[in-house]
């Protein structure tokens, strides 16, 4: 009888298996049964449905067991809810659609006072704009500051332009300096070529003696041709000096070259050029005087070298003894010169006679040399194709050639060569008058 107190119910769970549930009372409430089945199957009671053969077990229902202690069997179920469609869907759809279509622009609406919101909002925005005026001013100041900086950058550009101009000037100056140096180097090289002649020493002595006389004459006459001749003599003296001391002599030669350049420029000008030429002549005379003194001293040194020779000794004696004796020697030379004049030139000009005197010593000593230049004269122009090739002949020979043709024989080596080369393509009659020696000067 004690065992009979057990009351059982068979429940088919969701998976189809059957479980025995035991209760100690003859009646069981639906709630208790649902909780028991929920605990057993681990499904929430709210989701669970429990049905017997004929009835749905609800929390409020009551099950009664039969005499043998068994309850009706039950099955656990879930629900498949359905009800889609119908008027409800329209309501739900309308709600979502209405939400989507709602407008956010209420400008046409009126506020409590009756004014349209459009105007109320505009007034508020205007006040905000005024309040921000200070900020806008600050922004303007910032922009102005930035613009000023930009302008300064522009000024920097201007400075750069000035720098460019300076650079250009600098380059021009540099180029001119380079050109001057090149010219001086070329001139020095040309003169050195004449150096190897040792006999030139004697000629130099004679030339020195005559320099003094010519200088005096030049002061009186003021002729360009004379000034040119002086320059030539200076060059000769320099070349001799170079034999003794290269460095010092070189510097002197450069100075003279500069003078020569200035002389050549003056003839191109008119009367004013004549005045300038006079000034330059006076300067040159001063230079000549200095040169005459220095060479005399050096010539004494050279005489020492030639003591062994008898002829040389005689000459030295003449120079050392007395200056008046020098004058005597000059006279003797003058006697010799007329002969040469008669032979070489028919012209009676005193200037030309002086020139011939200068030429006499080299002619006398190398008789063969006299003949060879004459024979070479016509050949020179035909053979040479450019002025540069004529430069090889040397200063002296170019001078002789120009004199023979009645042209100016002064200037730099290049100038003389260029002047002579013109004859190759242009006859004497067509050459410009500038290039010819002045006959009036010669007459004087």
């Amino acid at each position: 009888m004690a065992e009979a107190n057990q009351y059982q119910i068979l429940v088919r769970l969701l998976d189809g298996r059957t479980r025995c549930l035991r209760f100690s009372t003859t009646t069981v409430s639906g709630a208790a049964l649902l909780d028991a089945v929920s605990a057993l199957s681990r499904v929430p009671a709210a989701s669970l449905r429990l049905v017997t053969g004929r009835l749905d077990v609800s929390p409020s229902s009551v099950l009664a067991s039969s005499a043998d202690g068994r309850f009706p069997s039950a099955s656990a179920l879930l629900r498949l809810r359905g009800g889609k469609g119908g008027f409800g869907s329209l309501l739900r759809g309308a709600a979502s659609k209405a939400g989507q279509k709602k407008t956010s622009n209420f400008d046409a609406c009126r506020d409590i006072n009756g004014r349209r919101l459009r105007h109320v909002n505009a007034e508020r925005r205007l006040e905000e704009w005024k309040a921000e005026a200070a900020d806008r001013q600050l922004e303007k100041l910032a922009e102005d500051f930035i613009k000023k900086k930009a302008k300064e950058a522009g000024r920097g550009g201007v400075k750069a332009a000035e720098v460019d101009k300076y650079l250009e000037k600098y380059r021009k100056d540099a180029e001119s300096c380079v050109n001057a140096v090149e010219e001086s180097v070329r001139a020095s090289l040309g003169k050195r070529k004449t150096v190897p002649k040792p006999r030139g020493g004697e000629d130099a002595k004679k030339l020195k003696i005559w320099l003094g006389k010519k200088k005096v004459q030049e002061d009186e006459s003021d002729s360009d041709s004379d000034s040119e001749m002086d320059d030539d003599e200076g060059a000769d003296t320099k070349s001799i000096i170079l034999d003794d001391g290269n460095s010092s002599h070189g510097s002197k030669s450069e100075d003279e070259k500069v003078d020569l350049g200035s002389i050549t420029e003056s003839p191109s000008e008119g009367e004013t050029s004549g005045e300038k030429s006079g000034r330059s002549e006076s300067e040159e005379n001063g230079n000549g005087v200095q040169e005459s003194r220095e060479p005399t001293i050096r010539s004494e040194g050279e005489c020492g070298d030639f003591i062994s020779d008898g002829v040389v000794e005689h000459e030295i004696g003449v120079v050392d003894e007395h200056t008046p004796e020098n004058g005597v020697s000059a006279l003797s030379e003058e006697v010799l010169k007329p002969d040469v004049k008669a032979e070489d030139n028919t012209a009676s000009a005193s200037a030309t006679s002086h020139l011939n005197d200068l030429e006499a010593p080299p002619v006398e000593e190398p008789a063969n040399g006299n003949i060879s230049p004459l024979s070479q004269e016509p050949l020179d122009l035909t053979i040479y194709s450019s002025a540069a090739e004529l430069e090889v002949l040397g200063m002296e020979r170019l001078k002789l050639e120009l004199q023979n043709r009645g042209l100016k024989c002064g200037g730099t080596l290049q100038e003389r060569a260029a002047r002579l080369f013109l004859l190759k393509t242009t006859p004497l009659e067509k050459l410009p008058k500038k290039l010819f020696a002045k006959p009036s000067g010669g007459g004087k």
């Binding site: 065992e3 189809g16 009800g83 119908g86 409800g88």
Partner: protein
């Protein structure tokens, strides 16, 4: 799903001209109710029984389910337009909120039949629900280690068949009548013997004229702690023979002279998930089977 002893012949429109039948309006979310009502309406025996239900003067007209149901069935039979179900839901005591609630159709079927059966008591149509839908089966328990047997006869209005792991309706029936063992912590308490290991099974004594089968297309996912719908393929033939294999579903003392062959009359279909969806029905109204 609820399979009632009828079969869908063809898809029908809610149009009198096309089909000779009219539809029911959806109040909000009442398609489950509409599907059930259409199915019950097309059971002629049921419809006639409803027509013969008395509408006692004691009841309030607006609260009388029989009256509302009679009106609904009459309009379905003779109206040319779709019929509203507002009177019926009012008689149920539902308000607007209830109209918008989705429910399980089998649950509604149970509740509705229970109400109607109660209203039919002591009337000329008393016991109609039982006659149409009630069947009986035996739950038997047989202890293994002691000589003890227990048989209990129970009635049923519908059968809940498993879907998971079953290919068709016959497989579900096999599982339904399968013998289970009660052992371990699930022992059976036998009188005078205490807890015993036992075998438990179900066998059918008789089947109702209209057999309602509910397919259990639901399970609980313990990992995710939520319900899940089973959408596996499941086959059911136009004719269901429950006498197959020499009546293996029948109890030894069942009346085997009765032929248990059913024709498919209608199918209630659920479309959607466990928390919401749509119900519709396939009905074969041309069957003359009563």
């Amino acid at each position: 799903e609820v399979a009632v002893r009828k079969m869908v012949d063809y898809w029908t429109y809610d149009s009198k001209k096309e089909t000779g039948y009219v539809g029911l309006k959806n109040q909000g979310a009442t398609c489950y109710m509409n599907s059930l009502l259409q199915t019950l309406y097309h059971i002629p025996y049921f419809r006639k029984a409803v027509y013969h239900m008395p509408t006692t003067e004691n009841d309030m007209p607006s609260g009388s389910i029989p009256l509302a149901l009679q009106s609904l069935f009459y309009k379905l039979q003779y109206s040319d337009n779709s019929v509203a179900t507002k009177e019926l839901t009012k008689s149920f005591g539902w308000d607007t909120y209830d109209s918008f609630m989705q429910h399980d159709v089998q649950e509604l079927n149970r509740v509705l039949c229970e109400k109607l059966e109660d209203k039919m008591k002591r009337t000329v149509v008393e016991g109609t629900i039982e006659k149409l839908f009630e069947g009986h089966h035996i739950n038997y328990i047989e202890c293994i280690n002691v000589d003890y047997k227990s048989n209990r006869k129970e009635s049923f209005y519908d059968l809940q068949l498993d879907v998971k792991g079953c290919r068709d309706v016959y497989a579900s029936f096999d599982k339904y009548v399968e013998v289970e063992r009660l052992e371990g912590d699930n022992k059976y308490h036998a009188e005078n013997h205490g807890l015993q290991d036992a075998k438990k099974g179900v066998l059918f004594l008789d089947f109702p004229p209209v057999l309602q089968l509910q397919l259990k297309r639901f399970e609980y996912d313990y990992m995710r702690d939520t319900m899940v719908k089973i959408n596996d393929r499941y086959e059911f033939p136009l004719q269901l023979d429950l006498d197959r294999d020499d009546g293996k579903y029948l109890a030894p003392d069942a009346d085997r002279s009765i032929r248990n062959l059913y024709a498919l009359h209608s199918v209630l279909v659920h479309s959607g998930g466990v928390h919401g969806g749509h119900y519709y029905a396939f009905i074969r109204p041309t069957l003359s089977d009563q």
